[in-house]
């Protein structure tokens, strides 16, 4: 089938929720930190003081982006570490107060598996259900909180279906019961406005590679006064709260990337949303037995997630790849697994529909032609796979 192997000259990358290319401006700012301004920020000579200055500049950039104070920002090796630290650190520091955590069933595995690790140590965790669009109900959070609850952790926006959570409302019910709120904002930074004060966020995880920064760098925001233990023990870096020689180039890249991403958000988001809506509408119109996963309006501007019945996601991905389109079935981390997405299942999708789901996540480099190309190619791919499939509308009729 030759029409299925024609690659376009320029590949279409539509998996920005998995990772993004580092922006050239960001690489440029990182470069001198490798071999010239390479000092260890903990040392005291001039070379090292330069490194410290760039580090603190980046801390300020991150703080500004989320409305925090610089001394509330702690650099980590990425979103996963930030989530692990937030959850395990709060748990360890509040042992005397309680042993119960409230989270949702659609969190990223960085949160879910950190919670499972705590359960093995005897902590109790409530995994709240979501509605068909993937939203957590603040009233359900309120009900779940007990005298023993030490943390509520609900993500700002979901990585698979792009659903935006009512974080401010959830923070409010948590605070009414004296419980701090952690939010995994890895997908939200640069995509929706985040202000830790007005939203009532006490801890927030972010990751540079999701918004044009480098992989392996992230941050945890910790509101002043929040009780949290250390996760990485060792040297006195990050005011004694996160040990390990700082990844100076990565942190410099994070700072620049978050500054650019938040500054450009007002212009970028509507453009992405328009492309997103054209994609969603086009796919629903041209491909029968297709439904939209996630929320129709409370959704990230760059997220398209659709379920095609009777076909399986990985084979869609590989055919798209042969056609030069990079996409995903869910979170990249689980591409190797056989289980249907826990997020789609939590939204009530039957496993066989979940298996046939495709995620396209747009980025600033995507063009209208990219959208046209996907809309022209994807119906053929689905048709071809449906022809191979023993499942069919008749069979389910």
């Amino acid at each position: 089938m030759n029409s299925m192997t024609d690659r376009r000259s320029r590949p279409v990358y539509m998996d920005h929720a998995a990772t993004t290319p580092v922006r050239p401006e960001v690489v440029e700012e990182m470069l001198p930190c490798f071999s010239e301004r390479f000092g260890n920020p903990s040392s005291i000579y001039a070379l090292a003081r330069e490194a410290r200055v760039t580090l603190e500049k980046a801390r300020g950039q991150v703080a500004t982006a989320i409305g925090a104070r610089p001394e509330e920002i702690f650099f980590t090796s990425g979103g996963t570490e930030a989530d692990n630290w937030a959850i395990k650190g709060v748990a360890a520091a509040n042992k005397k107060k309680g042993d119960h955590i409230v989270t949702s069933s659609i969190e990223h595995h960085a949160v879910l598996h950190a919670c499972r690790a705590l359960e093995k140590q005897g902590y109790r965790v409530t995994y709240l259900p979501v509605d068909e669009f993937g939203r957590v109900d603040p009233a359900a959070v309120e009900e779940a909180i007990t005298d023993k609850t030490i943390l509520v952790s609900v993500m700002a926006a979901n990585n698979e279906i792009g659903t935006i959570q009512p974080v401010a409302a959830i923070a409010k019910v948590a605070h009414d019961r004296g419980v701090p709120l952690h939010t995994d904002a890895v997908q939200a930074i640069g995509a929706i406005p985040i202000d830790v004060d007005s939203m009532g966020i006490d801890l927030l995880a972010l990751s540079a590679h999701k918004f044009g920064g480098p992989k392996g760098t992230g941050a945890l925001y910790v509101r002043r006064g929040t009780r949290i233990g250390t996760f990485m023990d060792g040297g006195a870096q990050e005011r004694g709260r996160r040990a390990g020689t700082e990844n100076v180039p990565g942190i410099v890249g994070l700072g620049r990337a978050i500054e650019l991403a938040t500054a450009e958000m007002p212009q970028k988001a509507p453009r992405l949303a328009a492309m997103r809506d054209r994609l969603i509408q086009g796919l629903l119109e041209t491909i029968p037995d297709t439904r939209l996963n996630g929320h129709p309006s409370e959704r990230l501007a760059n997220n398209v997630n659709v379920a095609f019945r009777y076909v399986e996601g990985e084979s869609i991905l590989l055919m798209l790849d042969a056609l030069g389109i990079a996409a995903s079935t869910g979170s990249a981390c689980t591409s190797a697994s056989l289980e249907p997405s826990h997020v789609l299942t939590a939204c009530g999708l039957p496993p066989e529909h979940a298996h046939g789901s495709l995620r396209l996540t747009l980025g600033p480099r995507n063009t209208e032609e990219d959208v046209d190309y996907v809309l022209s190619v994807l119906p053929r791919v689905i048709e071809r796979l449906r022809k191979m499939s023993p499942l069919s509308p008749e069979r389910y009729a």
């Binding site: 399986e312 996601g313 990985e314 084979s315 590989l318 042969a322 190797a336 499939s389």
Partner: protein, 129 residues
């Protein structure tokens, strides 16, 4: 991730489709796990003269079905029965560990289709039916 053979059988599957009024048919897997294979056979004088598949599943599942049908075409029923999942994997130049179950599914599909034919003809089947 996948060998060239897997990619070739996935992108250009052999024997895709369904034989009308097949002499033997077998379906294995279930949609919950994301894998269903349907094998249909045309059998003449105890020999498989045509084999087709329809598969809902990943690239490995599609390639395994394609390769399995290739391997059994022209074989006697006993010869075809002896085509193991290992033979399918070898012919595909390997499968990733987490995808080996796809080749098992292909073997099971063939067995089920052959058993279906045998049952229809009053011959002894694997599950004693």
């Amino acid at each position: 991730m996948y060998s060239e053979q897997v990619m070739d059988h996935f992108m250009n599957p052999r024997n895709m489709g369904e034989i009308p009024d097949a002499d033997g048919a077998g379906e294995v897997g279930n949609p919950t796990c994301g894998d269903i294979m349907r094998i249909t056979l045309r059998i003449e004088e105890n020999r498989i003269v045509d084999a087709k598949f329809k598969t809902f599943g990943c690239a490995a599942a599609i390639a395994s079905s394609s390769m399995a049908t290739e391997l059994i075409r022209g074989k006697t029923l006993d010869e075809a029965w002896a085509v193991t999942n290992r033979a399918v994997v070898e012919a595909l130049e390997g499968l990733p560990p987490q995808k080996l179950h796809c080749s098992v599914l292909a073997e099971e599909g063939i067995h089920k289709a052959i058993d279906d034919y045998r049952a229809r003809h009053g011959m002894p089947t694997a599950n004693g039916g």
